[in-house]
Symmetry: C2
Subunit: 357 residues, 2 copies
């Protein structure tokens, strides 16, 4: 029996309910394939603020470090939106990323044929869309120094953040992206704003240099404004996209929304070594929290990504992904992806449906 | 007779051909309404680099300052893409914006019923979309100091840009945005990344404070990643959007592409005083330059915006906009907006069609 220690971070809003489903599914798959999971739960985000006064208690980070992988649900909510910055749920998430050195964020945006009507785009435009956004996650304007709200000599307030990347930071995420593209269709599009920003000029230079080491990958470059347009215009042109922290935040959300069903999309955040964090792309949806209405499938697919990327258990990952496709095939839907003639299920019932296939 | 001095900056690629059409249209409208235009032409972008060695010759900036408004076509092309930064066409454009203090960039994204099929989104999603993006244009990470590619103590290269806004810069663009919203549906959405960036926190604070002076405008705030999603999901929710330079670059292009026909979209860049610059949203399209294939309508509509915003000639602006709608109604199309059963026209012929209605 292989045994893994998994830290669960249910977080806020719908987090706890969708996490329950993912854990149930993992247990069933584990039993079938003789994999043992030791689950340990920790606090993060608003839940941690309420219980301990800080969004990422040191014990949470310790527990995460001391595990094989971390499964995170969602953080945040109106309740904590007006706290000072260091006490906000998002700060806990950024602290987790920095604390575990999770520099590579993989965000797939894949359209499922069963849900093609959920997209706001025409079916012929989105059919077959399968994009992987590789986003740098521990650098750029999210973490650059100096930052703050300063008072100038003339007594005026000035808000400042610094968008910076070192060559080594760019190379590190670049390698992950080239390797990701190699396992996909072999096309990598690097997105920057090199016509205006020096930080993007260095980005483009380094990525271009790296390309020599990956002759089997076809590299192209695109400005971020054009990338936002091209995602809307003709998303099938993209295979793998690599970009910095802020551009990746914006473009991966736009790409996700092309599918029309962000309740279906998982993500992985990986470091050079140590445990990765696996979480849905969607947020904590405080408006429907606790009502058994949430779609648990992105959380379940995040558990599958964890099995594939962190635990090297592709068979288990396949089983989970197939179960999701099967329940969709037979017409089971949560409210967010409901369409006429389908069976409307709650969060818990969707979990039961998955387990029974 | 009212007389205006207009500086024409045809620039690169398709710029000269579409500019010719706009000038012809202005002349005809001027004759009808007894408005005299004195046109003076100047160099910018690649054309200026080739002729003078710099993308914004001092005489060009002087001529622009010494005019009532500036009509710009498009700049840039592959040919100048690998020059050092200070010699690139884009640098000329940034210099023009800074030189004329054009802090407010208005970018409408309005869907025309005649062209609804050009959109990659479903017709029911885009029908009636009418968004105005108010983008700050002379601050933020485009101009912040320090910037450059530096060598760190350990000998490593580091690319740096600074995203900064002062309270006064935010207030200035905020007022333009509130006033714009007042003339539209009265709804203003301010887009930032205040959950991560201090510069956005100040942005949000100032815009919130300004709202007290505009009780007739309904203000909301949205994070930039969510805004990128919401533009794709349900664009009709937006009326006026206000945001910083970089976010505005990305979101205005995404919004423009929702219409499916960026060959139709004009824009205005305005300062506190002095001449504004009016230009199409699309680029210089070097691949079709000189082939009489370009769509001149965004350039023509930019001339209409100039009449409306800079010259206070709303009747003339209406006439031009109506002429554009009429040629579309009768089925005239350039290649970029062509669909079955319509009449395919070249750039010049489209100009003739406009003049004849
Ligand atoms: C919550 C926020 C800090 C976060 C980010 O901006 O990275 C989120 O938008 C995401 O993409 O995971
Ligand atoms: C050409 C470039 C410098 C410019 C910008 O980024 O502002 C363009 O994308 C625009 O939006 O006008």
């Amino acid at each position: 029996t292989t045994q893994y220690r998994i830290t669960l971070l249910p977080g806020d809003g719908i987090g706890p309910e969708i996490m329950l489903v993912a854990v149930d599914v993992l247990k069933v798959v584990g039993k079938l394939l003789d994999i043992r999971f030791e689950f340990q739960e920790a606090l993060i985000g608003g839940a941690a603020i309420d219980a301990t006064g800080e969004p990422l208690p040191p014990t949470t980070l310790e527990m995460c470090k001391d595990s094989d992988a971390v499964l995170l649900a969602a953080i945040g909510g109106y309740k904590w939106d007006n706290l000072p910055r260091h006490l906000r749920p998002e700060t806990g998430l950024l602290g987790l990323r920095a604390g575990l050195s999770l520099f590579a964020n993989l965000r797939p945006a894949k359209i499922l044929p069963q849900l093609i009507d959920a997209s706001s785009l025409k079916p012929e435009i989105v059919a077959g869309v399968d994009i992987m956004v590789v986003r740098e996650l521990t650098g750029g304007v999210y973490f650059g120094q100096p930052k703050g709200i300063f008072t100038t000599e003339t007594g005026e307030k000035c808000g400042v953040n610094t968008m910076a990347y070192t060559a080594a930071e760019i190379d590190r995420i670049g390698r992950v992206a080239f390797e990701t593209a190699q396992k996909r269709q072999g096309r990598l599009c690097s997105v920057d704003k090199a016509n205006v920003l020096e930080v993007s000029q260095l980005w483009r230079d380094r990525i271009t240099q790296l390309a020599a080491e990956y002759p089997d990958v076809e590299l192209s470059h695109m400005y971020v404004d054009n990338a936002a347009m091209q995602l809307v215009r003709y998303p099938k042109q993209f295979d793998t996209i690599v970009t910095g922290n802020l551009f990746g935040d914006i473009l991966s959300d736009a790409a996700a929304m092309l599918t029309g069903s962000i309740g279906m999309l998982p993500s992985a955040s990986l470091g050079a070594s140590g445990p990765g964090v696996f979480e849905p792309v969607h947020g904590s949806a405080p408006d429907i929290a606790g009502q058994d209405k949430a779609n648990p499938l992105a959380q379940v697919l995040s558990a599958a990504m964890m099995l594939r990327y962190a635990l090297n258990q592709p068979v288990a990952a396949d089983q989970i992904e197939n179960a999701v496709l099967q329940v969709l095939d037979r017409g089971d839907r949560t409210g967010d992806i409901m369409s006429p003639g389908m069976n409307l299920l709650g969060c818990h019932a969707m979990g039961e449906a998955l387990i029974q296939v």
